[in-house]
């Protein structure tokens, strides 16, 4: 469909709507609007954003596909309960500013979430339109609409108003999505907020992990700038637990409350032979080198090197696996193999990321998993030996359990291996914070308000949930901030 045809269709639909003749059947007939994207061949050689965003007409057409059903199952699917059907309705009317205002009631980072939320298992999974077509791919593209209105506001005056100073100090540990939201919500309440970040740049996983081509750094930076405008202080190169402990912050440095949002932490390895060979990376390392440290510009300014591999195997089936594989493509690999031990159906990655990875030439090796990694006399990776798998009964995750097929060993020649099978909790806070309670996996134990076992200390995101998503971390940042605001209000009353 050309833009002209889309405009014509939109006019017809608007006419019908005006006269009250627009029926659900008409809405079902509107073709789902595809996300415009950079050409797969071209984008293999650049790190610019792949999905380029809806046009105004596309956004309004897509919004008109929404039935405005009374039950609004989409809202129940949203971790932060955005009033989805309301913001979609005003997009259809062309009032994009109002749409953004509605989203911002519940979500602080629409430009980020519109891009990286797994909508197909959240709001869009339960969408009535998708159910009607028996295809979540045909649900209303809520995420794309969210992104559309957020991007329009790029130079807008998004700075929220801040309540009068309370004199209370809040420490936010980690500047990832949870930390940003917790900082914004507590700053809005008038508290004196400081974010402590271990890296030299803010944004957490949004800058070191999620690649530029999926989430441009400039978008994350805008959100950080908003915080600064609200008076939030940001201290980089500060490793809580090492530079100062939580106890020191709370007793010597005068913080009244703290939010721990330090993220997932240590990369998980497989425990197979050859994992320490040269050329074997954790996804964290590979992505950090490529993204945060800009290794794709090595020799053109950037000082951080990365293996310039020709044949890369990426192990895993999640979003981070897709990010690693697609980064390898952009770094010039001729062959990128994605090796996953279950079938494509069980992959936790977003459908869109799987689709983009395939378009860019990533070869999927499903129902396979490495048994060992093989190196040469210099300990450089030369191949992986894999086993084939079949699917058995359902396991505790509700997915069919992969079972190795004995004697099915075969080799794939590679010169780099990226292990992207998840993270385990970073022990740093645990080692340095007596009294803070952790579960057996090393995650911080919190109550429904994200409160930890320590007075005034709250936590959320991956360090509590294990590996989760940006939106879940944001949701917890919001819950924790509300609890912190309440706690500080009471504390202030008690001390006054």
């Amino acid at each position: 469909m050309t833009e002209k045809e889309r405009q014509k269709l939109l006019q017809q639909l608007l006419e019908k709507q005006k006269t009250g003749k627009l029926k659900p059947a008409d809405r079902y007939e509107i073709p789902p609007q595809d996300m415009p994207a950079q050409d797969p061949v071209k984008r293999r050689a650049n790190v610019n954003e792949v999905a380029t965003g809806y046009t105004e007409t596309q956004a309004r057409l897509e919004a008109m596909r929404c039935l405005q059903c009374k039950t609004a199952p989409c809202i129940k699917g949203c971790p932060v309960q955005i009033r989805i059907q309301d913001f979609v309705a005003v997009i259809a009317d062309g009032d994009f500013k109002k749409a953004l205002a509605i989203i911002k009631e519940n979500s602080l980072l629409p430009a980020v979430c519109g891009r990286v939320c797994p909508q197909e298992v959240q709001c869009q999974q339960t969408c009535t339109v998708g159910l009607k077509f028996k295809d979540t791919g045909k649900a209303v593209s809520i995420g794309r609409l969210e992104r559309f209105v957020a991007d329009l506001d790029q130079n807008g005056d998004g700075t929220p108003t801040v309540a009068p100073e309370t004199g209370m100090k809040v420490a936010v540990i980690g500047s990832g999505p949870g930390g940003i939201v917790a900082a914004a919500d507590t700053a809005r309440a008038g508290h004196d907020v400081t974010i402590f970040e271990a890296f030299h740049k803010t944004g957490g996983v949004m800058v070191y992990g999620i690649p530029e081509f999926r989430l441009p750094k400039a978008i994350v930076q805008e959100e950080i700038d908003v915080l600064t405008k609200m008076g939030v202080k940001i201290v980089c190169n500060f490793i809580v637990g090492r530079t100062r402990t939580i106890e020191q912050l709370m007793t010597e440095d005068g913080f009244d409350a703290a939010y721990i949002g330090v993220g997932a932490g240590l990369p998980r390895f497989m425990g197979i032979e050859g994992e320490s060979l040269v050329g074997v990376y954790s996804a964290n390392e590979y992505l950090t080198r490529a993204n945060l440290m800009k290794a794709y510009d090595f020799g053109k300014g950037a000082d951080t090197p990365i293996a310039l591999s020709k044949k890369v195997a990426v192990i895993g089936g999640g979003n981070v696996t897709m990010d690693s594989a697609r980064t390898a493509v952009r770094l010039g690999a001729e062959k990128v193999y994605l090796v996953y031990r279950r079938s494509e159906k069980e992959m936790p990655a977003r459908i869109e990321e799987v689709h983009h990875a395939k378009e860019e030439g990533v070869e999927f090796h499903i129902l396979q998993s490495p048994k060992r990694i093989i190196g040469d006399q210099n300990s450089h990776v030369t191949a992986i030996e894999c086993l084939k798998y079949r699917l058995g009964e359902l396991d505790e995750s509700g997915r069919r359990r992969p079972i190795p097929i004995e004697g099915s060993e075969f080799q794939i020649d590679v010169d780099a291996v990226i292990i992207a099978i998840g993270n385990i909790a970073n022990p740093l806070i645990r080692q340095t914070t007596p009294g803070l309670q952790f579960n057996k996996w090393g995650n911080i134990i919190v109550d429904e308000n994200c409160k930890t076992s320590l007075e005034g200390v709250y936590a959320g995101g991956d360090i509590v949930l294990g590996a989760a998503t940006v939106i879940l971390a944001m949701g917890q940042g919001r819950i924790a901030a509300a609890a912190i605001n309440q706690y500080l209000e009471k504390k202030k009353l008690d001390t006054d």
């Binding site: 980089c236 390895f269 320490s276 050329g279 390392e285 970073n426």
Partner: protein
Amino acid sequence: MSKSQLSEDVFTADVEAPLIAEAGKPGQFVIISISSEYSERIPLTIADANPQKGTIRLIWQRVGKTTAELADMKVGDEIANVAGPLGRPTHIENFGTVVCVGGGIGTAPLLPIAKALKKAGNKIISILGARTKELLILEDEFAQVSDEVIITTDDGSYGRKALVTEPLKELCQRSRKPDQVFAIGPAIMMKFCCAATKQFDVPTQVSLNTIMVDATGMCGGCRIEFDGKPKFVCVDGPEFDGHKVNFDLMMKRLNAYKDQEQKAYEQYKKHGCKIGLDK
């Protein structure tokens, strides 16, 4: 704050970092990057700290682009990012007699450890090794905290003409062998020190300096094989029981980017010369 050259390729500087100076303990390190956009992050050990002045002392060897760039900085220039202290502090106790073996630049991180061990009541025998006399660093500082200092050079230009492992072996052969050894230096030196002390069953701590990116446990690039299992130098170390470290694999991982690093350094050197000509 101040900067000087200890030998042809070894430099030292006192850097303003009050929080790290206050929190730092022997055995810990910092991660630095010269600018925020494009610089790489490299770990450097904290050779000394002055909490009153709020400074830490860094000692580094010029081996590549970043260390050369650092060496070219002047007093008053700002290192954009200094984060730390990182790693687990050295376990200090009164072991009895401790041999501190320092090779080349490894002598620097060994100094605060030797100081702390002395303070804890240990008898300290220091063995300092260098390729040649002019590369030997911190001799006077070690003399102050040691009961005995043994110097070795590869070419015999100063002290004994020997590798550090020779006197180390002799000390282990004494009727009262040392209770503990700390060995810090090039990987190959630590490997052979550990091989030597293993024969005599003398516990030996080594401090490893592998390639790191974040240095907080997140990337795993620094991992080594320890007792057959992966360990992260940044959060599990940097010190390890040297008898369980797979040094051969570690040395290969240290060379992972050798060619690229070499190229970057060459480019920097060329660039540096051009600037010189313009003046």
